[in-house]
């Protein structure tokens, strides 16, 4: 499956390569020599692609982007108007019809926090929750095989604790047990928020989510927008830049959801019940379970599940959360490998459906990006190793400047550190290459069907985390 994605991306690259070769490109020629300001002797090369090649490349790029966006929009509209309760039980039109004229009480939020030995951060998480205006109706810490002070700290903070019984399916299994206990008693507007123990909510998160869920009874889920915590030097900044860009993308999509983040997302009970109901039928997994215990990235899986059932979801700009960044390259490697493998496995489980189309395209895009970036770096390397004197290419320098500008503009909200890192361009290219290698490793592991493990990264309790 992973191979199919990489294979398709490679096929695209080969096709382009052959097309280029067939056009018999001009062989390299010697650069011209000029004198700058009457002092420096510089070599330069005014070479640039032929206008029709330029135009074709620009056209292909715009067409691809428009096609993906257009198809996604079409699918969304179709889901909104669907009246097929067998295939899309959560389609807005059906939900509207079922809830018309009946007031099921105001929106309340019950928070479930899956926790496995989280004593270093649970107190801060609970404090951020209790400080919300309005506060949640209930807070339940789902303690799963905790051997540290998590349970004690939770009790001290005055919140409920649900201890899992004989759970062998980690986070997803613990949440399934807690939801099985909780869901039957929830009214239509008694929403459930699932949030990570290492995440803190920004002020206004619950108020924003409550308002959205009050204003739109067809809305089935509100996802948080996460950004990285301060600190951890360069590796922290790389991740913060990445999250800042992701947030910007979501704002430009007007909150249309990519993934309902596991860091903090709110669900209407109707949505979770429908998922549990359809497991083993329309959705993969065990009947009666909300979370698929096989999925490595359960938030991504639940998002696809809800999309499949036609649910309306949003990630509004007022619902932001601060999440941990990985403090080391090995931690980042483990985290991203899990995300990557999880995403691929989820796609494999769902196959090619209209609702997964965008995710497939995303994977294909990453696959092609690996080839494109590798070819680019190879060419640069060859140029550096084989050029006896430095040659300036005005056209390509101009292109480089446009890229740099894009890097800076898209992280502008991240502050001056973010802008400075973006301005230097090459470190971020290196970071992109690191993520590409993770991608390839994910595909490789999946192909060999290696057992991926859910690595728990223990965070040091530093001043940056606790704000002391």
């Amino acid at each position: 499956m992973g191979l199919a994605i990489v294979g398709t991306a490679a096929l695209g690259a080969v096709a382009l390569w052959l097309a280029v070769a067939a056009g018999a490109p001009e062989r390299g020629r010697a650069p011209s020599e000029g004198v700058l300001f009457g002092i420096w002797r510089v070599f330069y090369d005014t070479e640039m692609p032929a206008p029709r090649v330029l135009l074709a490349a620009v056209g292909v790029a715009l067409l691809l982007a428009a096609a993906v966006a257009g198809l996604e929009r079409r699918l969304l509209t179709r889901a909104r108007r669907s009246e097929d309760g067998n295939r899309m039980p959560l389609a807005p039109r059906l939900v509207m019809a079922e809830t018309r004229g009946h007031f099921a009480g105001p929106v309340t939020i019950t928070v479930l926090i899956p926790a496995h030995n989280e004593e270093s951060c649970i107190a801060e998480t609970l404090a951020s929750l209790l400080a919300q205006e309005p506060p949640p109706a209930r807070i339940v810490v789902v303690a799963d095989n905790c051997t540290d002070g998590t349970v004690r700290l939770a009790r001290e903070a005055g919140v409920e604790v649900f201890e899992t019984v004989a759970n062998r399916h980690k986070k997803a299994g613990g949440l399934n047990q807690a939801l099985r206990d909780l869901l039957p008693a929830q009214g239509d507007n008694d929403c459930v928020m699932i949030m990570d123990a290492d995440t803190t909510l920004d002020p206004g998160f619950l108020a924003g989510a409550t308002r959205r869920l009050t204003d739109d009874r067809a809305l089935m889920a509100v996802g948080g927008l996460f950004y990285g915590e301060d600190g951890f030097g360069l590796i922290g900044q790389f991740q913060r830049n990445e999250y800042t860009r992701y947030q910007r993308d979501l704002r430009r999509r007007r909150g249309r959801v990519f993934v309902l983040t596991g860091t903090a997302s709110v669900f209407r009970p109707r949505a979770l019940r429908a998922v549990a109901e359809e497991r083993g039928k329309l959705l993969p997994g065990v009947p009666g379970d909300v979370y698929d215990t096989v999925a490595l990235t359960e938030d991504n899986e639940l998002t696809i599940a809800l999309k499949t059932l036609g649910a309306l979801m949003v990630s509004p700009r007022e619902c932001t959360v601060v999440t941990e960044v990985m403090p080391s390259w090995s931690g980042l490697w483990a985290q991203r490998l899990r995300w990557q493998r999880g995403a691929l496995e989820n796609l494999g489980a769902y196959g090619m459906r209209p609702q997964t189309f965008r995710y497939w395209m995303q994977q294909l895009g990453i696959g092609y990006g690996v080839i494109a970036l590798a070819a680019y770096l190879l060419l640069i390397l060859l140029m550096v190793l084989a050029t006896s004197s430095w040659v300036w290419f005005p056209f390509w320098i101009g292109i480089g400047l446009v890229f740099t500008l894009e890097r800076v503009v898209t992280v502008w909200r991240g502050g001056w550190r973010a802008r400075l890192l973006a301005l230097s361009l090459f470190p971020e290219l290196g970071y992109a290459m690191f993520l590409n290698v993770v991608y390839l490793k994910g595909v490789w592991d999946l192909t060999l069907a290696r057992q991926a493990d859910w690595k728990h990264v223990v965070q040091p309790d530093t001043a940056a985390r606790t704000g002391v």
Partner: protein, 76 residues
Amino acid sequence: MLGTVTSGLVPMGVLLPDSILRHEAIAVLAAFVAINTIVYVTLSVAKMLPKVYVSDWLSTRNRRAETRSIHPDAPI
């Protein structure tokens, strides 16, 4: 010293001869990278510019016929 002599005799890069840059395979690689770069820079420019929401001007089918609020008597 030796480097100056050899570079006087054969044109050399740091590690590879200059001439490989004039090889056809390298020309194809350069063109391949060039096209990819243009494709990516186009997408970058599209990402950088303010987004235009065409549907804001066109769509008339999304008008609400009833309230979507959880309060049945809320205004539309």
